[in-house]
Subunit: 406 residues, 2 copies
């Protein structure tokens, strides 16, 4: 597997665009991803009962149709809690793209992100759809423009791509995502689009992405708030020329591995760029007796406000980590836990069998001062492991969210 | 029912003390509550798997013994994650009080709060026990000193008392508590002691307090972090002279009502004095089809970081409230929800049937600027209701917790 440049336009036969339509702020606010041939579509979406209009649309379209051709995305307005008018506006957004690209409306998937409860400025969106069609290109720059256009409070755009080999063919998988706040994905993330030129059946594509998110997007959290708009869409257009994958053979495994490289990278970037975050905070649970246990424990640690503020303060307040494990709902023996912290500055054992070691607070602070820090908890019950990604809780998180709408 | 002055010394035959022993900071750090005759004891404790030494001790003592005579409490060190040494120190703390009061060690309950993972400075504690015995008084001032001594990051001490009438007797119920951070009680709160002179069987006393917390302490949250030390202890010494309550008759109901007045008041004070909080944020769910549904929905709203920061910013960002209800796990129809905000400044309907009304943002901000604000969500499915109490998430919460240990 090779890491390559680009995002959604890295794979063969995908074009993209990112433009300023004028929805909210003076920066790019609409994006398009387009496949030159119909692509198998799959996706995972929010489990929140309150689902945005585009989420309802995509779930229906992906279920009813074998393929999709385009994904249109906007930032600024989430089109959630907008009733029937919101659903009509969402349809109009898909339709406007379809008209400009001369394709069927039901082959256009939609994603929105931004303020909840506001209607889409539909005239602006329709103009934007035209601009997107005019600006659509196969270049990596066009993919980058799309990634930029879906940002809200993100401080940088998020793209990643890899090339894998199946048979004698080079298969490319690339993606983009946006995150920042209201990030506690449950079956999907805020907005993410992955494109690939692999030939694969729709069923296996869906299974691959559904399993994938369990270890990637569903393992990150910025603020424990599961959004109304979480959407992860994957398009596979088959242009790599491999024999279509229709069973779970080693080619399928190779694809899943490549897919995980892309989504795990985007997940980590989203966690690190959480609203107001100064650092990525990773928690690895090892020695668990089940995957489920490892997941509960690791997610409980990265979502604790008290752990997150301690990480912000570079304070090795390990009691809060054990405490968060303790209320996770997973069973374990606190008197057996070993706990380490690790970063580019080194690795330190803070706790052995549930009690503090004679560690140096000064060295602990140095380790925690890095841009990426990791806590490792060994519960000594088995061989399962899980990794969760979060970020610190800072003054800026409060600042951003106390006046997000203004 | 009459609201009266005082806290744990309001009821007949209870003495208290609060002293500076020297555990951590230059302020009162040890407290004692003492009943002049053995009192029926009951309590509820943290559900966190990681339980502090005093929690383990109290659970055992309350189970094994019909009565207790004293409760000793310290702030500064939580005596959690301290292994066998921690349990020995906890025993020594109970023993020191027993020796000074000339009572059996197993009649002394213990509570600790503060930093996790540090051992109690046991010599200081033993000296403190002596001071407590010397300073113990029946006065309301002594009760107030005890309430002050258990504070950690609390900005004010929390006491409340009521008098009720059963038969021709005046029954008094008074309590104190401390909260502030790591507050998301689950079967109990950080530390609370309630005293009453009622005569009641131990079984009914336990049942009364266990049911009570479901609507009081278990309905508050500051930061979703369930502590290792949550303890709520109630002592009933029977000195009011009523005929002992041994069945669930109307006298039992009268007692439960009085008890709820005390614990609900302490709960609200704890929420309002959450770490860094500028205001109390209450969420009332009405029209629910079950109590469980109402509880899930109301707690999900008050625990959302995004809702809490919006409340801090006086921003009527109602989409976040609906979003938090949506991921609560409880089922409802988002398209039927009506949502109001209310405070001393007025009441405003923000959402009708899941969509925004034409409300004035300016007036909404005015309502949210009060010291106590309330969101009311009507899900229109039945007649059940629940109230949860939280606070806003502020710069000061981050500040306090980024350097709590230093």
């Amino acid at each position: 597997m090779d890491i390559i440049k680009g995002g959604v336009t890295a794979a063969k036969g995908f074009k993209a665009a990112g433009v300023y339509a004028g929805i909210k702020r003076k920066r790019k606010d609409m994006a398009l991803v387009y496949s030159v041939v119909p692509a198998k579509s799959a996706g995972t979406f929010t489990t929140n009962i309150v689902k945005a209009a585009p989420v309802k649309w995509d779930m229906k379209m992906i279920k009813e149709n074998e393929t999709a051709v385009a994904v249109v995305l906007n930032s600024g307005v989430a089109n959630a809690c907008t009733g029937e008018e919101g659903e009509i506006n969402n349809y109009k957004m898909a339709e406007a793209v379809a008209v400009n690209l001369d394709i069927a409306t039901n082959t256009v998937l939609t994603c929105s992100t931004g303020v909840i409860g506001k209607q889409l400025p539909i005239d602006v969106i329709i103009e934007g759809a035209k601009l997107l069609a005019e600006n659509m290109e196969e270049s990596l720059d066009a993919g980058a423009a799309a990634a930029e256009a879906i940002m809200t409070t993100d401080t940088y755009s998020k793209e990643y791509a890899v090339a894998i080999r199946i048979e004698d063919k080079i298969i490319t998988i690339g993606g983009m995502s946006k995150g920042s706040g209201m990030i506690h994905p449950n079956m999907a993330t805020m907005l993410g689009v992955v494109t690939t030129d692999i030939a694969i059946s729709k069923e296996l594509l869906q299974e691959a992405i559904s399993n994938n998110v369990k270890e990637t997007f569903n393992m990150i959290s910025v603020d424990r708030d599961t959004s109304t708009n979480d959407s992860l869409i994957i398009l596979a257009n088959g242009l790599a020329g491999n024999k279509e994958i229709t069973e779970k053979n080693k080619d399928y495994d190779t694809f899943c591995e490549g897919l995980k490289a892309v989504t795990a990278n985007l997940s980590k970037k989203m966690a690190a760029d959480g609203e107001g975050a100064t650092k990525l905070f990773e928690t690895v649970v090892i020695g668990a007796e089940s995957k489920e246990q490892a997941v509960s424990l690791s997610k409980s640690v990265i979502t604790s406000n008290l752990v997150k503020t301690a990480v912000f303060g570079n304070d090795a307040n390990w009691g809060r980590i054990l405490c968060a494990m303790g209320y996770s709902g997973a069973d374990f023996d606190p008197d057996k836990v070993d706990l380490y912290i690790e970063s580019s500055e080194g690795k330190l054992k803070l706790v052995e069998n549930g009690m503090a070691t004679q560690y140096s607070e000064e060295y602990a602070t140095k380790i925690l001062s890095a841009k990426e820090v990791r806590a490792i908890a060994d519960v000594k019950m088995g061989n399962e492991t899980a990794t969760a990604w979060g970020c610190d809780l800072t003054f800026d998180y409060v600042k951003i969210n106390a006046d997000y709408r203004s």
